[in-house]
Amino acid sequence: MKYETIIGLEIHAQLLTRTKLFCRCSTEFGRTPNTLTCPVCLGLPGSLPVINREAVRMAIKLALALEARINFKSIFSRKNYFYPDLPKGYQITQYHLPVAENGRLLIDVNGSRKAIGIERINLEEDAGKSLHEGFPDSAEKTYLDFNRCGVPLLEIVGRPDLRSPEEAVEFVQNLRTILQYLEICDGNMEEGSLRCDANLSVRPAGSTEFGTKTEVKNLNSFRFLARALEYEASRQVEALERGEKIIQETRGWDASANRTVPQRSKEEAHDYRYFPEPDLPPLIISEDWVREVSAGLPELPQAKIDRFIRDYQLPVYDARILTGSRALADYFEKVAGLSGSPKQASNWIMREVLQYLKEKNLSPENFPLPAESLAELIKMVENQEITITMAKEKVFPEMVRRSLEEPKSAEVPVPTLELKVAACDPRVITEELGLKKIGDEQALQNIIEEVLEKNPGPVKQYLEGKVQVLGFLLGQVMKASKGQADPQRVQPLLRQALDKLAKK
């Protein structure tokens, strides 16, 4: 039987605010444990939470980007449960009325666009960190760091509209790019600033009823997300094929065993006893505020993709890769504009630049070479001042190397863009490396004559009608020119020279 997989995702995005959601403790990552807490985030008696304006602004941004309906009045609630990393004994979250509802996120499926529903967006606080391993007495003790208690999160609850693990990965990737474009979350899954849980069920293809679902947790990388969902879907299909029933349960991804394993059974499921947070009034968001945030919204990835395809005539594939980050898209637009060759700009960035970033494990905003310099190099190639091979193999790496040297001058002690652009000028580098393309006809003729003199055998073969030898001779000319000759121009000259010999 054929089965269909149904997936709904729940994402937690840690917000890039300076302070926590309900107190002004710093949210800085990696500080000494238990140095960023106060009576509010520790839940000490008599303390009162005060909402962080910036966190609300970020929630509005995401709601707008996901075309969700913003609730002008939303309610904070207490979710009660006992766990040592939650010193208050409850988490302040949203339950009855979330900050936004009914949004959608577009994903690309086999070349067409599909809208995935967003049920709700909640503002809530994070818990602290429990360390279960790594201490001499870890067998008996758990260590706690409360620094993360109260750090703002947006919980994004997606509808079960996804139909394959690939769609789920695409959903998370697109959401992450949006969060990064909005500058509200760094999207780092490995460090936990973007966390993903999934609900998954399978059903016979064509059926309209939902099967029993399981919740899969601990999907902290794109690789694990895809693997865990693939595993879970086939596990359910195999169980159904054997005539078993799927048990509704929470399962965790065990990366070392490459499978999902049950975490806790439904019987132990928590009774969270949600009730409205009495210490916080309803959160009121004015229409004016929404308008103001809306006006400051950046161009979003999907719109950028469409524009790149339309205005720069790029293939969809290029447009999608180039818009993967705002920094990369901005860099492309600068190079495209300055060089006047969007297609060449795209080619250079998709190959040379991205390869460099991958090798050095850098993000696009840290690419050292100024867009001005790369644009200049592209112009030189377009004007046939240098061959594309030389540009890629010799000049580009040298430009990048020099751009890393942080040039300073006596008058300007700090590295400026102008100094950097001057330091990695491709014309200077081409000159210095002696790579200037041999455009001079006489110089080319001289090289050709020399090559023909040195290779009487192949010349004779050519004259006897073995025209394939031309390729060999062309290669010899290129070699003699140290790659600085343009094969397009060498070929006719070479033919002429051979024809002249034939007439002798």
């Binding site: 403790c25 238990n34 962080n52 910036e54 008996e140 758990t142 009495p278 959160l283």
Partner: protein
């Protein structure tokens, strides 16, 4: 209203003595019934969530000093180095 003392004590992480087990249900039911009178009031959505009228205050995202670490750790029943220490939390594998 009937009280499920077993369930409530588990949720509240409280161990009860035999005496408390006998005494509490009656007392709690009385309290719940007394508070329950409020349900007879005709209320709107508004009152359902918040009874006290206090206006919304949002704060700017500017860092204020946190509590000194030694003060925080001093409140914990057990500590070690930079951490608060508790009995190991059971983790299913």
């Amino acid at each position: 209203m009937k009280v499920d003392l077993e369930h409530l004590s588990r949720l509240a992480n409280l161990e009860l003595t035999e005496e408390e087990r006998k005494l509490l249900p009656g007392q709690m039911e009385k309290i719940i019934d007394w508070v329950g009178q409020l349900s007879s009031l005709a209320t709107g959505e508004e009152e359902k969530y918040h009874q006290v009228d206090f206006s919304l205050r949002l704060e700017e995202d500017e860092v204020q000093p946190s509590l000194p670490q030694d003060e925080v750790l001093a409140m914990a029943p057990e500590k070690q180095g930079d951490f608060v220490k508790v009995p190991r939390v059971f983790r299913e594998k």
